[in-house]
Amino acid sequence: MPEPSDTLVDAVGLAVRRIVVRESRLSVDPAAIRDDEPLDGELLRVTSVGLLGMLVRLEDELDVTLPDDIFAGRSFRTVADLIDVVTSGCAHSPR
């Protein structure tokens, strides 16, 4: 499988940051959110329900299909975890 391009990773990263900021009801620049920021920590407050909603919105916004094994043994602890799974979804989705 080819490595995702930097452009793709950047686009997914921006979309993920925008959505986690909205989900946490924050007024901060999404670009300021670090990759290793915990999804349920001091800054971001993402519940399991919120995570599901975000995955659904990311599928719609980026027109991708997330992998079928998205929850199989995977943990969503940080922003980077979310970026990784969405990026892998982009790699598998027909464009």
Binding site: S48, V49, L52, L55, T65, F71, A72
Partner: protein, 365 residues
């Protein structure tokens, strides 16, 4: 003087029924948590109208307290009669389980969604602060001066124990222990009306076998009654049930891939996942397996933990026109494989569930 509960650790991961049932049972001889862990099964009743399913999570009747008594649902239409009965249970047994509504418990994270919940009350005392007059009838439909005519309520505080703790979809549900006022207790006891059929079925099978339910719309608690009747009704599942875990998982996979909206049973699957992960955690603790055996139990627990999220996501997706049958199939395939390996470990460690685990010729598909 209130007896100190002996359960201090280990109840994490139990359901909103069993977490506080464990606290109740733990005041009697025997290891309540081990008893619950060993009882865990997943049986499904398939002959109910409108495609409804009933779930049994235990293969021994957990309402049997000891050899001499059992718990049975009791109810009263009026708050003061309910409080009187709760007080009698406290006097006679030092504790009482009440049927609460999670939506009206101040410490619950479930929000406004009603959900049945066992709550342990283990003491009462005169109130230390005056209760506001207007608080009495809130949420109960009581007019001023109605109810609590026996003097049991006004000026009384109740010590409640809620050991239920879990990572719910809505967030982390912490346990709660503390004194609450009579109005607060009555708010917790607010009946769920109309009661959804799935709630009725969950209450009915909370102990593993069908229990008689009181009339809908009444305040409910669990009363200690006479000796268990182990031969007649106490340990029978009337109707058509699947008790083999392989068949149960096949049925649930079909439910999620072929029926239009299976979401009414999501909480049943969430409870099953809770119970199964609790069982494997207790097995790990009790038998201390290592290497591949430990890894098999951990994988089974992880597969159960991931199940509710995957099914929630599949539901979300289906509702917006993007069904995910492949995701559901992959999720159940992993679960079947993990259950097979975990069952072999449990059997080897003398922890098999003899009445309901898979048949020996079961093979993963």
């Amino acid at each position: 003087m209130r007896a100190q509960p002996a359960v201090t650790v280990g109840a994490d991961g139990l359901s909103c029924y069993t977490a506080n049932l464990a606290a109740y049972l733990d005041r009697y001889p025997g290891d309540a948590l081990d008893r619950i862990a060993r009882s865990v099964r997943l049986a499904v009743r398939t002959d109910l109208p409108a495609g409804l399913l009933a779930f049994s999570h235990h293969d021994e009747p957990l309402n049997v307290v000891d050899g001499h008594s059992r718990l049975e649902y009791a109810s009263a239409p009026e708050p003061d009669r309910a409080l009187e009965a709760v007080t009698h249970e406290l006097t006679d047994h030092g504790q009482v389980l009440v049927l609460a509504n999670a939506a009206t418990m101040a410490w619950s994270v479930t929000g406004s969604a009603p959900a049945p919940h066992f709550l342990l009350v283990d003491d009462r005392r005169p109130a230390r602060t005056a209760e506001p007059e207007h608080g009495l009838g809130q949420g109960l439909g009581l007019g001023q001066g109605q109810g609590l005519g026996l003097g049991l309520g006004r000026g009384t505080e109740w010590h409640v124990v809620d050991r239920f703790t879990a990572l719910r979809p809505e967030g982390h549900q912490p346990p709660f222990t503390g004194w609450i006022s009579t109005p607060a207790l009555l708010r917790c006891l607010t009946p769920i009306t109309p009661q959804p059929a799935v709630h009725r079925l969950r209450n009915e099978h909370a102990f593993g076998f069908p229990a008689s339910l009181p009339p809908e719309g009444q305040h409910q608690w669990l009363a200690r009654t006479g000796p268990p009747d182990m031969d007649h009704g106490q340990t029978r599942l009337p109707g058509r049930w699947l008790t083999d875990i392989a068949e149960v998982l096949e049925l649930l996979e079909a439910l999620w891939t072929t029926r239009p909206d299976p979401s009414r049973h999501l909480d049943d699957l969430w409870a099953a996942a809770q119970h199964r992960t609790f069982r494997y955690a207790r097995l790990r603790q009790a038998r201390a397996p290592t290497g591949l055996a430990a890894a098999a139990l951990d994988e089974a627990a992880a597969a159960w933990r991931d199940l509710p999220m995957a099914l929630h996501f599949a539901n979300h997706s289906a509702r917006r026109g993007r069904p995910r049958p492949a995701m559901v199939k992959a999720t159940f395939a992993r679960l079947r494989q993990a259950e097979l390996a975990a069952h072999e470990v449990a059997t080897a460690l003398g922890y098999a569930n003899t009445t309901t685990d898979r048949t020996p010729d079961w093979k993963p598909r």
